[in-house]
Symmetry: C2
Subunit: 363 residues, 2 copies
């Protein structure tokens, strides 16, 4: 699907986007914090929600952002390693799930309607194309499934770069201008890829990063761990270059989300990460461009053990801890409601003096 | 405000309500769980949200409850101990906050509009009546503020019983028939009363249950602990009768919420507890009527150290952990959105077979 001819263009799209990202604005964040102390409620009484408002104010360069329009992004990719029996689901199921999301009937659609938020999907590397009424356009696709990472590099470096660049293009072309972005993915087998990437990028042992994924038993978890060990052994001694690691161990939807996250930071969106897989993409985006970090909010802590390692490395603590392991941006979409509730309270609670609660009320 | 003449009637209202409460229906809960396994998503992939659906199904006697209409209840009462400087706020501020809620401009109103949910308030024991446009009716009120618990019983046993009975009446007369109920309160000084009740009911040391409340410093926390120790010393050796403990150490809004919780269980509502103060009321309601326990959902874990002790005793773990310490049902109201999101996903996700995801997909 991709060709080598446009390599300099792709390289440039990634480099120029990363170069444009500046950290969130500290002055707006500070003004939001000061403003909240004047409202008709005890200072700091909303705990982490007060912190959220400060973060969003910095990202949006606005000390009083108020509830924000939201969009949910779900990128899809297939993983060669899924054929090795690491998932509760058959290889190729990913496109059926993408079709379900595109039909508006999947759990993420049900959650998004309650926010409300638009849901946008794209095929970055499915084995089979989605057919019928919910056909996906193929312009962002870089591969018909990745190779089995225990034996081969998932993608070529050119494909990985192309997927990142396509993620940047997708964010510009399909995600509108909603300032609140839930980042999600689907890909049968992708917790295995995420575990390999986490082990490599954070120098963690496979035992600490491999989990039950979609819900497999102990025997399959042990098998996953063996495959991750093989993938790490296979690539040992190679240079630490982030893009090469992504190509060797990643997935097309993970690489695509690296691009989505880079572009979203450049577009000054509030980036709400879903679970383990999107956290790995964020870690890679931060390695490519450290200023991205200030744009990230962790929505939930999934059941995957590697997830916490990455969030700790990113310095983010999750808003929700509900044991979700559904993927498809479901946790991030639930968090959108929490974030907008916090923004609404900060924006609409009247000043203390206006309702007769003077500063003498707080000793 | 209350008189002794109607004591038998009050006693009977409490006893008959408690006697009518039966545990949630296990068969509906089980059917909800079985049904969820047939949907187009991995079994158990929504973690604690799947458990929530099961709990609500049991309470509502409906294996597929769907999102539910919701109401938020906020009872207000003043505490004599507030005059001893245990709060960041002046004694008497409670009625100004109640007025703010009644005007629809407080944080809880902003949160409730997003659910959406109605907000209903009542004066169970303010020092001063709320005047102006937001006057509260006085029919549920049992006292003009409680006595300082470090020196006197907060209320007489007759007043405590009357407040519980008035809570039952309030739930029947003012809370409509919304099946989802957020239980909240306001009362300057009430974390001190809650701490004394927790220490007494769970036989815990004051050091483990006294916290910063509305946001006081270490010196005031130490002072609060001393007052709680005095209250416990003052009542030492008295019989363990729950209603007597409530009268000696409680508050009118806490006693009122005991009644609201008893009545709501009888009405088969899903009872969503706010923070520390409502958890204490739930603990007392469960002591009076153990079947109430199955109707309780803990919305969040507040910053008060005694809160976790009570939730552990009730066997409930909080959905949110955001460090809230605002009271006025704010945490419970945020949780309403999470609960209805879980119910929506369970009710509206299509069956796996209908979208071509056969059972062979789950190995």
């Amino acid at each position: 699907v991709s060709s080598g001819k446009d390599a300099p263009v792709v390289e440039d799209a990634i480099r120029s986007t990363a170069a444009r990202v500046t950290p969130p604005d500290r002055s707006s964040a500070r003004r939001a914090q000061v403003r909240q102390r004047t409202l008709a409620r005890p200072a700091g009484s909303l705990g982490r929600l007060d912190d959220l408002v400060k973060v969003v104010a910095g990202i949006r360069r606005d000390p009083r952002p108020g509830p924000l329009p939201a969009v949910v992004s779900v990128l899809a990719g297939d993983h060669g390693v899924a054929a090795r029996g690491v998932s509760a689901f058959r290889h190729g199921l990913t496109s059926d799930v993408l079709k379900l999301i595109a039909s508006g009937r999947a759990p993420v659609n049900i959650l998004a309607r309650r926010v409300p938020a638009r849901v946008v999907t794209a095929d970055f590397g499915l084995v089979t194309a989605v057919d019928g009424a919910h056909r996906q356009e193929q312009r962002y696709k870089v591969t018909n499934g990745t190779a089995d990472i225990s034996r081969h590099d998932a993608m070529t470096v050119a494909q990985a770069r192309r997927a990142v660049a396509n993620g940047i293009a997708f964010a510009g072309e399909r995600l509108g201008d909603e300032p609140l972005l839930a980042v999600g993915e689907i890909g049968v087998g992708n917790t295995t890829a995420a575990a390999a990437l986490t082990a490599r990028l954070l120098d963690a042992s496979p035992a600490r990063v491999v989990g039950a994924g979609s819900g497999v038993g102990a025997v399959v978890v042990a098998h996953k761990r063996t495959l991750v060990e093989e993938a790490l052994r296979r690539t040992r001694g190679r240079p630490d270059d982030t893009m090469r690691v992504l190509a060797a161990l990643g997935g097309s939807e993970i690489a695509g989300n690296v691009g989505v996250i880079l572009a979203a930071a450049d577009q000054r969106r509030v980036i709400v990460l879903d679970g383990y897989i999107t956290a790995v993409a964020a870690l890679i985006a931060v390695r490519l461009c450290p200023s991205v970090r200030g744009y990230l909010i962790a929505s939930h802590l999934s059941a995957e053990p590697g997830h916490r390692l990455i969030l700790d490395d990113l310095g983010r603590s999750p808003l929700l801890s509900l044991g979700l392991r559904l993927g498809m941006a479901s946790g991030a979409t639930m968090a959108l409601g929490i974030i907008n509730a916090a923004l609404a309270v900060a924006a609409y609670t009247p000043p203390a003096r206006e309702v007769g609660l003077t500063s003498a009320d707080a000793r």
